[in-house]
């Protein structure tokens, strides 16, 4: 029997189809949005409720080796937040590093239906997929870390761009990865020796290539392979005062490679690389400068990495930064370097509103969201769990939509920070349509997930219905209403099925895992394999044959095919 569902009279926000707050009916059949359904279809009356496409999180660390190492590091994080087994749901633990099942449930409860893990060490990506497979309800994918890969650095050093492209295509296929992730290019390789690099033009020890060359090279590769997303970059110099300049320089490093008026580089969690000043004492917000650059240049998109005051677990492939944070905070520290590829670090951290630096960080994220004019190029994230857990999104939405909500927090943060931030002078308040853009439409577009992030005919029926009637509530003055509404949906629908109702999980399905396969020419592929074979044993401690992840390894693989230009 065909599954049919109609949602009637909802107040719809669907930015990709230019629908902003119109009262509409939406029909669903076999998991897709359709023109009409039979009379027997189940009906949901959503009169006086807002409806948006399911949320799409472009950057959230939910699975893999370092996430699990974070869980193992922090029993104290789990003890304060447990979930009991029910008839329909598994038990688990939450707070900043939820267990896999709880991650899926909590995203679904908030109306999010697609989430990408932005940093998987290729050699350990089987682990990432095991966890993604264990995460219910949501669709997902992961970005392999390629900015410190030995093969890639060598191809770029030697000017062998085509081989580099073929290698990246092979890597994405071998790891079932979705997009190119670059973290602290060259910096993590230097950290293999306990050393640091700072600038875009610092040569990388033993490899005779610079971060700039890696970023530019992979940006070109991304284009050659016609990948669905753009290079996803965590810049050098993260966490250091004055690093906003590195962010701008990184964006500018690929400016000449843009040929159309669309982004070719995504700078992630810009809050962490938006520090002005020269020391912790005169740290300031570099958000205005970064926003100016973004406003003037269409080749760039960014996401926030918004800080949430409270306890969390920081984790990134940027091993040197995590060591630095460990030294700064004195908190416990995990480091996990990965041969020939990348690294990672984990440090528990508490953001305090009374701490000057943390308060400035909180301000940077919001300033950036409010100063970047085009909501299609700034996505809402907390860089979960780095700025704070993803469950804090309703807070961020309230801050963006209500100056009153911001003022309330500003009055409680560190006084010096309050004086030095521009935030109190910014009047902009996001509309619901803009919120729908930065939380679903824009990230889906950036990932070229054609059937996600909108409610047009043929789209996946991934839908969030929130109990909020903007005609009845003065949202700017009632931020608590915003927070409450976005905390849990009235209904979350995934592939046409109701998976969450008023915060209760009603379905226990598993979503798809998206990955990319870009086909290069047979000759190039054959040459590449010969080259990989000749060096693989020298670089890795496992055999080449045992490296690629088999097709049957993933629970529900969803391949995106692209045609390479080489």
């Amino acid at each position: 029997m065909e599954k049919e569902l109609s949602i009637l009279n909802a107040i719809v926000f669907d930015p990709l189809n230019n629908i902003e707050g119109e009262k509409l009916d939406v029909h669903i059949k076999n998991g897709k949005i359709v023109e009409s359904v039979g009379r027997k279809a189940r009906k949901i009356n959503a009169s006086g409720k807002i409806m948006m496409p399911g949320g799409v999180d472009i950057h959230s660390h939910i699975a893999g080796s370092k996430v699990n190492a974070g869980r193992l590091l922090r029993p104290e994080d789990h003890r304060k937040d447990v979930e009991i087994k029910t008839k329909r749901t598994h038990s688990g633990v939450g707070y900043s590093i939820p267990s896999t099942r709880i991650t899926g449930y909590r995203y679904a409860k908030m109306g999010y239906t697609t989430v990408f893990d932005p940093a998987t060490p290729p050699l350990k990506t089987r682990h990432t997929h095991e966890e993604l497979d264990s995460t219910p309800i949501i669709d997902k994918g992961c970005f392999p870390l390629l900015g410190n890969n030995w093969f890639i650095m060598e191809y770029l050093r030697d000017g062998r761009l085509d081989e580099c492209a073929a290698f990246v295509a092979w890597m994405l296929k071998a790891t079932k990865g979705y997009a190119i992730k670059i973290v602290d290019p060259g910096g993590v390789e230097a950290w293999g020796w306990g050393k640091f690099i700072k600038g875009l033009d610092d040569p990388i020890i033993n490899f005779d290539v610079t971060p700039r060359e890696i970023i530019r090279g992979l940006c070109k590769v991304n284009k050659i392979l016609n990948l669905p997303h753009i290079i996803h970059v965590h810049t050098n110099n993260l966490g250091n005062p004055g690093n906003y300049q590195t962010t701008i320089d990184t964006m500018d490093a690929v400016r000449d490679l843009a040929d159309e008026k669309r982004p070719i580089i995504h700078i992630t969690h810009v809050q962490f690389t938006g520090f002005s000043g020269s020391s912790w004492l005169n740290l300031g917000s570099g958000a205005p400068e970064i926003a100016d650059y973004v406003n003037d240049h269409s080749h760039v998109s960014v996401d926030l990495g918004q800080v949430i005051f409270g306890d969390t677990t920081t984790m990134t492939a940027d091993g040197p930064f995590q060591y630095f944070l460990h030294q700064l905070s004195g908190n416990k520290w995990v480091n996990l370097d990965v041969e020939a590829e990348t690294g990672s670090g984990i440090v528990p951290f508490q953001y305090k509103r009374t701490n000057y630096v943390n308060a400035i960080q909180w301000g940077i994220g919001l300033e950036l969201a409010l100063l970047v004019e085009d909501p299609w190029r700034v996505f809402m994230t907390t860089d979960h769990p780095n700025g704070g857990p993803f469950t804090s999104y309703p807070k961020v939405i309230a801050w963006l939509m209500s100056k009153k909500a911001r003022e309330k927090m500003i009055s409680r943060i560190n006084r010096t920070a309050r004086r030095r931030l521009d935030l109190p002078n910014i009047d902009r308040e996001y509309t619901l349509g803009e919120i729908a853009t930065i939380t679903r439409a824009a990230p889906a577009k950036s990932l070229t997930l054609m059937n996600k992030g909108h409610l047009g005919l043929g789209a996946d029926a991934d839908i969030a219905i929130y109990d909020l009637d903007p005609s009845k509530v003065d949202l700017e003055n009632k931020p608590s209403t915003i927070r409450k509404a976005f905390k849990e949906t009235l209904y979350t629908i995934k592939n046409g099925k109701i998976v969450s109702k008023q915060g209760q999980i009603t379905g226990n399905s598993y979503g798809n895992t998206f990955y990319t396969e870009s086909q290069v020419s047979k000759n190039l592929e054959a040459d590449l394999m010969k080259d990989i074979q000749s060096r693989f044993k020298d670089y890795y401690t496992i055999e080449l044959e045992n490296y690629p992840i088999s097709d049957s390894f993933l629970r529900n693989p969803a391949k995106i095919n692209c045609k390479a230009e080489v």
């Binding site: 193992l72 029993p75 447990v82 009991i84 038990s91 350990k124 089987r126 370097d337 044959e545 992840i549």
Partner: protein
């Protein structure tokens, strides 16, 4: 059937997960293994010995053959009826099987523990407190110019560790044994110690003292004693200089450190030493994990429950308190009222009191071989060998996951762990309805 040679086979013995074995198969039997250590060859060529080939159930005092259906049904009834069943073992099976095992424990409100709790459990407790500076084994192969084995004897316990990953391996930046220093710290001159550039023999159960003295020396503190743990201060200071002056150091430790007096405190001191060394040079630390998938058991349990072992589901959510919720302690207190053992032999390894309680409660075992535990069991569910007779993913000691292969068929009458556990979970769910 003709002869077949399979290359790049992944070994399923210890935490090294060597993946370069060459296996010759004749008539669906492994007849030859190349590139393997003695332990690996032993398993690869001996996997057919002492097998259990059909399910058994106790009738009166003797075990009688039965069918999987009956044995699974009986097992399901026992664990469903139990107020606190124990699910123990898991380190010699695949991640896929472990995942079902955790769900089984959750479904029945029992305890889920793996062999970590009698092995590197203290290591994990240390990591909770301090964290760890670590890496994959290839990083050590490429970069390490100083390798230390402390309370660990890889020549016998992890025979290819040194040649594949450490002092005897060829890396990008370290070409040979001459480019590296090997330090061994142990209570006796082991065969590994015989290969060392520096061997430090310490008094038994004094690792914590030596580790602390070493930390002090690395910091440049004055040590007033002349001898610590049987080692003269000069030698400790010399060692501290070696640690500080290397470019990339790696400290491997075994149960000699984990299970000697001080336990998790020893590990905390070791983790702290390595952490502190990172302000002077690059240094990493790694436990020498024993069973081929004990690391997988920790990882799977952690992503499902937040905790790596000793998980208590009796209250409907995961709870963790090793020493209270770990298998040995539960059994010694006589708390569990049934036990399902998977791929492990606790009757041989547990303290007497704990083993005794196991024999006094309904005991069910899933295992390929006859062991003291199967001999004491009320129900035996024979299973196939992961990595030989069935596929399954496993974790190397450094967290690299590999997909093991099926090389030969299991005995015709034998099912895999995944098949048995899935059927069991399904039956438990239907009984609860």
């Amino acid at each position: 059937m003709s002869q077949e040679i399979i290359s790049n086979v992944i070994c399923t013995v210890c935490g090294c997960s060597c993946d370069h074995l060459q296996v010759t198969i004749n008539n669906d039997k492994i007849v030859k293994v190349k590139n393997a250590c003695a332990m690996s060859s032993g398993k690869m060529l001996g996997y057919r010995n002492e097998r259990i080939t059909q399910p058994m159930m106790k009738k009166g005092r003797t075990l009688k053959p039965t069918t999987y259906e009956r044995a699974i049904d009986a097992t399901a009834k026992i664990i469903t009826k139990s107020s606190s069943p124990l699910f123990y073992g898991w380190s010699l099976t695949s991640n896929e099987a472990i995942e079902i095992g955790v769900d089984l424990a959750e479904e029945t409100g029992g305890f889920f523990d793996n062999t970590t709790s009698i092995c590197h459990g203290p290591t994990i407790l240390g990591v909770h407190e301090i964290g760890e500076s670590s890496c994959t084994l290839g990083e050590i192969r490429h970069r390490a110019d100083l390798v230390i084995y402390w309370g660990s004897n890889p020549v016998h316990a992890h025979p290819l560790h040194m040649s594949r990953y450490t002092v005897m391996s060829k890396g990008r930046f370290r070409k040979s044994r001459a480019d590296r220093k090997l330090v061994v710290i142990d209570v006796r001159k082991t065969d590994t110690a015989k290969l060392a550039d520096v061997f430090i023999q310490i008094e038994p159960n004094s690792d914590y003292e030596l580790m602390s003295a070493l930390r002090a020396a690395v910091r440049g503190d004055e040590i007033e004693q002349e001898i610590v743990s049987g080692v003269p201060i000069d030698k400790i200071e010399e060692l501290a200089e070696m640690l500080i002056n290397c470019e990339f150091g790696a400290l491997f430790f075994g149960l000699g450190l984990t299970m000697s007096s001080g336990k998790n405190k020893n590990i905390e001191a070791a983790l702290s030493l390595v952490k502190e060394l990172n302000s002077k040079t690059k240094f990493v630390i790694m436990p020498m994990r024993g069973h081929f998938n004990v690391n997988g058991a920790n990882n799977v349990t952690t992503w499902l429950t937040g905790y790596p072992y000793a998980v208590d589901f009796t209250q409907g959510f995961p709870r963790y308190n090793p020493g209270e919720t770990s298998a040995v302690d539960l059994l010694a207190r006589g708390e569990c009222d049934s036990a399902l053992i998977v791929a492990s032999d606790p009757i041989s390894n547990f303290p007497h009191q704990a083993a005794k309680h196991l024999t006094s409660i309904p005991l069910m075992t899933i295992d390929p071989h006859i062991t003291p535990t199967t001999m004491c069991s009320d129900i035996i569910l024979p299973s196939a060998h992961v990595g030989i007779e069935t596929t399954g993913s496993t974790y190397r000691m450094d967290g690299v996951v590999l997909e093991t292969r099926k090389l030969v068929d299991p005995p015709k009458t034998v099912k895999t762990d995944v098949e048995i556990l899935s059927a069991l979970l399904k039956r438990v769910k239907s009984l609860k309805r």
